[in-house]
């Protein structure tokens, strides 16, 4: 038991040691540790759990290693469509955004929806417009481009001729299970 603490994740799936080089494994661990330390500092200094969650997730969103923010996978239309949500246990207030393409940190948009709107979930252009009106950082969608994720999309398209399938299922590539 702890008076305070936190847990973070960066996705689950077919993550096998043989698929990660020692260098890449070290990068993942370093980023996870950096995020955990950030959250700890906030909590240790008396910050709120909401602040810890938001700022910890910023570190993960800003890393190209994870499927969120920069490093997010590509949709079929070759855009990065981002979703996020946040919830406060004291009030049961919650906020979320879906399908946004130009918000650097979607988790902050979710928090703005929770705190500054009468709604829980805003989607796509409306969510983007609301977040911009709240002063959140808007970026060119190119900001989210990473070569690795783009190649995964091209690979997926090559391997899916059945149009009824909307997502790529490949047990040897982590992307699929990160959803």
């Amino acid at each position: 038991q702890n008076n305070f603490g936190l847990v973070i994740h960066g996705g689950a799936g077919t993550i096998l040691k043989k698929n990660l080089t020692p260098e890449l494994e070290a990068q993942y661990k370093e980023t996870l540790e950096k995020a955990a330390r950030k959250g700890y500092e906030i909590l240790q200094n008396g910050g709120t759990s909401l602040d810890a969650v938001e700022q910890t997730i910023h570190i993960l969103e800003n890393s190209p290693l994870f499927n969120a923010g920069k490093g997010a996978v590509f949709a079929n239309n070759e855009k990065n469509e981002l979703d996020a949500s946040i919830m406060e246990g004291k009030t049961l207030n919650a906020g979320a955004v879906a399908g946004v393409t130009n918000l650097k940190n979607p988790i902050s948009a979710a928090r703005k929806v929770m705190e500054n709107s009468a709604h829980v979930l805003l989607a796509r252009e409306g969510a983007e417009e609301f977040a911009a009106s709240q002063g959140l950082e808007v970026v060119n969608p190119d900001y989210f481009f990473t070569e690795k994720r783009y190649q995964s999309l091209l690979h997926a398209k090559q391997n899916l001729s059945d149009d009824s399938k909307s997502a790529y299922v490949d047990p040897y590539i982590n992307d699929y299970k990160f959803g």
Partner: protein, 135 residues
């Protein structure tokens, strides 16, 4: 997908999840991450949860809320509730993935039914534990 759950010194819980979804998704598909109760949930009476995995199954299983509900209505511990939902209910439906969670007493959980999950915990002493694979 990435996520974080936290308990602060005032006893307040919070949960957050952020994602790019699935590669090659079409038709404005969204998964569980922005669905409150599916991929994210927090309640000071029970726990805070963030999920990652095959979103359609997480939505149908109402994963995050279900863990909280098992604690609230059946008095399961966080570990018991998380294990029941991830290793039994979700897995039996054919869904895979995992969750992280923290309860009002500061118990920390990372439960998943996949080969691995990128994860880290930090307790009140500042002890950080990082994991990737099942072991």
């Amino acid at each position: 997908t990435v996520g974080c759950v936290a308990l602060d010194k005032d006893g307040n819980l919070a949960a957050g999840t952020s994602t790019g979804g699935m590669t090659n998704k079409k038709w404005n598909r969204i998964g569980d991450s922005p669905i409150i109760g599916a991929g994210t949930y927090a309640n000071n009476k029970t726990c805070a949860v963030s999920g990652t995995g095959h979103g359609e199954y997480f939505i149908r299983a109402n994963v995050a809320y279900d863990i909280s509900a098992l604690m609230e209505y059946k008095n399961l511990s966080l570990q018991e509730a998380a294990k029941e939902v991830i290793q039994n209910k979700l897995k039996n439906m054919g869904g895979d993935g995992g969750i992280i969670a923290i309860d009002a007493k500061g118990n920390l959980v990372a439960e998943f039914n996949t080969a691995g999950m990128y994860r880290a915990t930090v307790d009140e002493n500042g002890t950080i534990t990082v994991g990737i694979y099942k072991e």
